[in-house]
Amino acid sequence: MQLGFLVDLHLCMGCKGCEIACKVENEVPLSTWRLRVKYVDVGTFPETKRTFTPLRCNHCENAPCERICPVSALHYLDNGIVNIDKERCIGCAGCVMACPYGAIYIDPQTNTADKCTYCAHRIASSMMPACVVACPVQANIFGDLDDASSNISKYIQTNQGNVQVRKPEKGTNPHHYYVGGGNVTMNPLASFRPEGHDLFGKMTSKMPIGGH
């Protein structure tokens, strides 16, 4: 079993229902995000559009975070999920340095590394991740990539030629796909990111001892 995610960017409307569902389900502390939806505006008026990109951990097959973790706090589960262990974690932040997707953050309450777990606790209870359940437009597809008849596999098959992953050149082999993505949505360097002008531009939480 190899669980994976697919987001159909043609449908996503940036409502942030998934963000909040994740926050509630996993008690994610304020100012930190396991899942977020980034807005990137493109074009020049009157030919402008807004893109919405949900961003979460990719649960890579070849995860740099799992490789660099000195104590195996980040570890693989049988279902392909890269799981966390807040009791094992020593807070070295090597994973934060290693993750090319910026998916990992240091939980300010436990002072350990944390990230999206594909709601592994829900999976173990035979339930879908919270963000999949919440999405009003069913833009989040989730399932077993090893099973060719699963919903996600069929979605990928139907959309061949229009399926992307983030930063494939990093060799991480992510299990998180997008349909309808492009350079603007997949590559953070393809857009201008003004500091201090967007609503949540600055991190406001105080990071703990360790001098951050």
């Binding site: 909040i20 505006d41 693989y76 966390i84 173990a124 339930m127 919440a134 999405c135």
Partner: protein, 723 residues
């Protein structure tokens, strides 16, 4: 950079050198593995569901997301007696209810942790045919609203001796508040004159239901209901009323070919955001096109196939351009227009046709009276709205308007739209947008068919709007409620006889304007010069309405508003200036019947107090069934949070008219109390009064029967079984 396979990493990680690590692993691994095997939990489940089956809702076990962070069941196993360090298992009771953060009434389920008797989370409800188990961010945020430390946990009263707005609050009880307020309301209404029927005003902000409380006001014999519609949706209702005598659009989003929004229903807040957005997504997945008309780039406009950024106020011209082309290019849906538009009335009104000629709108009064004469006339009427003219006025590039027209025609009769918000929200003349919009859509016959736009009264089941006509005291369909022959000039000022809904934003101005009052009093109208009681409900006019400072001035003036209280769970700018703040519940804390037209079918939601349901299922019983929700919330640790249904029942029976001496009819047969008091109590009173001891046995039997009947009614009303 070379790649290693996951297998190699796993192998490498499995071999540890430290003796302690191995020793620990060997001795505990068995216990851990056992705890997982014996449970239903596994990292490799056979299937994944969106919601557990209903049979398991009374008792659903799910691993805890926060505790899982300790390493999951692979490392810690499942918590049990033998494995106390395992991952915690939540023991849920799942109770359905409806969201209250907007009027869409999406289904919610409260996941109540039976160990702590708190709601751990709200998710959606798979039973709701329109919200389909999904929710927007606000639905999930309900949990944090419920346990927000800043919410109001008990009735608050302005401290004696302090002025309004001084901010000095004391805690009070529901009984004290209801006694004070009920007495004031009763004293006012008991006078029975015309003015008294205009002095106790209920002013609703967020209704959260289909109109129950408004019907309470009928049973008070008052014409003193006010709303916020005038600064909100009246610009959307007006054109719909003018066209179809219905006051809200109801489109078939899911089957539309063209979704033409003069709003932001596709991706932003709209009226019924999430449900509309999901149906629109379904349509787009099938190839529908999305056009959004909005001066700003909303999220909907950002994802649209075509964004029409018309200069604010010029939106009607866009529709008139479409109309002009439809008429000029012979694209009228003749069958539909001939059957459903009142073109004969138009042609019969010769006086008005002559007036139009006088004004230069048309060149001559049509000589024939047939349908083609009608089409010819209006073709001439709308000919000025050319591409060049409209492009210039609206600042929309001509090619975009042409593209819009092509999409319009391509979509045939499957054009879905919604006239609400945007131009329709509080903008002067904004109703012209809907008026011209319906013309364009109507000429194409896109009103009513699959994928088209229709009207909401066909798609709503408004039980609450019938008020207490399900009760005994109000007769069949409320036939026992006396008619009220009164007209409240404060809500419906004589200057604007055609206003759609109350001129609510004028309230403080009208109360302050002595000259205005005198003008109409001199003409013989009984204009109220003050309010005895002002009761906003989840309404914050100080913030929301224009000229908020005037609202502050008026609310603070005890000679203009003698007693005020806000039915509100949270603080607000308006609350700061009232006399009482009475906390009524949020989504999972109240009873409401709530149906909305979000798809061309009828559904209704029942909002119910989830903690009360959970407690009752666990064997708890209220001391006073008429206050069961309040008692349940106190027991559940939410505080003295109540809800309107029980509150108004109690007020009407025990506080406004406790003696039953406020008569609603000249014949003095009906009182406020009689409108709401249960018959069972009347029977008991009569029997006790008559002293028929020999009927005690019969009485007991009758009571027992009544009790059972009451329980049945209670069950139907609370709907905590299956919906």
């Amino acid at each position: 950079m070379y790649l290693q396979s996951r297998r190699t990493f796993l192998k490498g990680a499995a071999f540890t050198v430290a003796g302690a690590a191995i020793a620990k692993g060997v001795f505990t691994a068995d216990a851990l593995a056992e705890s997982v095997k014996e449970s239903k939990f596994t990292d490799t489940p056979d299937s994944l569901s969106f919601y557990p089956p209903m049979e398991e809702w009374a008792d659903f076990k799910e691993l805890d997301g926060d505790d899982w962070k300790r390493g999951g069941i692979e490392r810690k196993g499942v918590r049990s007696e033998e494995n106390p360090d395992g991952i915690e298992v939540n023991d849920y009771m799942i109770v359905p209810t409806a969201c209250s953060n907007c009027e869409a009434a999406c289904g919610l389920t409260a996941w109540i942790d039976k160990k702590t008797f708190t709601v751990k989370k709200y998710m959606g409800s798979p039973l709701h045919p329109a919200s389909r188990g999904r929710n927007c961010a606000k639905g999930y945020a309900t949990q944090s609203q419920m346990y927000d430390p800043d919410r109001i946990a008990f009735p608050l009263k302005r401290a004696a001796g302090s002025a309004r707005g001084e901010g000095k609050w004391v805690r009070t009880t529901w009984d004290e508040a209801m006694t004070t307020i009920g007495t004031k309301m009763g004293d006012t209404l008991r006078k029975g004159d015309d003015l008294s029927k205009k002095s106790v005003m209920f002013h609703v902000g967020r209704p959260n239901e289909n109109g129950f409380t408004g019907k309470v006001w009928h049973t008070l014999g008052s014409d003193c209901f006010n709303s916020h519609t005038n600064i909100c949706s009246s610009g959307g209702r007006t054109p719909t009323i003018q066209w179809a005598n219905d006051d809200r659009s109801s489109p078939d989003w899911a089957n539309a070919k063209l979704i033409f929004l003069n709003s932001s229903h596709a991706a932003d807040a709209g009226h019924y955001f999430q449900q509309s957005a999901s149906f629109i997504a379904d349509a787009r997945a099938k190839g529908a096109k999305l056009v959004v008309m909005d001066p700003r780039m909303s999220n909907s406009a950002g994802m649209a196939d075509l964004w029409i950024a018309a200069w604010p106020g010029t939106e009607p011209l866009i529709y008139l351009y479409l109309t002009q082309r439809i008429l000029n290019e012979g694209k009228v849906n003749r069958e539909f227009v001939k059957k459903w538009m009142n073109w004969e009335v138009f042609l019969d009104n010769k006086a008005y046709l002559e007036y139009m000629v006088q004004k230069g709108y048309i060149s001559k009064v049509p000589t024939k009276n047939d349908f083609d004469a009608f089409l010819d006339t209006i073709q001439e009427l709308y000919s000025p709205y050319t591409l060049a003219h409209v492009a210039k006025e609206t600042h929309v590039p001509a090619y975009k308007l042409e593209e819009l027209y092509d999409m319009f025609i391509w979509a045939g009769t499957s054009i879905s739209t919604y006239f609400w918000r945007a131009t329709a929200a509080g903008n002067r003349g904004g109703w012209m947008s809907g008026r011209t919009g319906f013309l364009a859509i109507g000429l194409r016959g896109a009103i009513g068919p699959e994928g088209g736009t229709f009207f909401h009264h066909w798609h709503v089941i408004s039980v609450g709007g019938k008020g207490g006509s399900a009760t005994v005291g109000q007769g069949k369909r409320g036939s026992d409620i006396p008619k009220i022959d009164t007209w409240n000039e404060l809500s419906w000022p004589p200057e604007w006889p055609l206003s759609t809904y109350e001129m609510s934003y004028l309230l403080p101005h009208l109360l302050a304007d002595d000259a205005w009052q005198k003008k109409w009093i001199d003409k013989g109208l009984n204009v109220p010069q003050k309010l005895s009681v002002w009761i906003p409900r989840m309404y914050n006019p100080v913030w929301i309405n224009p000229d908020g400072f005037r609202w502050i001035e008026t609310i603070k003036d005890e000679s203009k508003m003698e007693l005020t209280f806000n039915l509100s769970p949270v603080w607000s700018e308006t609350n700061w200036y009232v006399d009482y703040i009475l906390p009524v519940g949020l989504a999972g804390e109240r009873h409401d019947q709530h149906s909305e037209a979000t798809m061309p079918a009828r559904w209704t939601s029942f909002r119910q107090p989830v903690m009360r349901v959970a407690l009752e299922k666990a064997g708890w019983k209220p001391k006073n069934p008429a206050r069961a929700t309040l008692e349940a919330h106190i027991k559940a640790g939410l505080g003295e949070v109540w809800e309107e249904n029980e509150f108004w029942f109690d007020m009407c029976v025990n506080y406004i008219d406790p003696k039953g001496d406020i008569f609603l009819d000249a014949a003095k047969t009906k009182t406020i109390k009689s409108m709401w008091e249960s018959k069972r109590l009347l029977v008991l009173q009569l029997l006790l009064l008559s002293g028929m001891m020999q009927h005690l046995v019969t009485t007991y039997q009758i009571l027992k029967l009544q009790l059972l009947q009451m329980q049945d009614i209670k069950i139907l009303n609370t709907q905590y079984m299956s919906i």
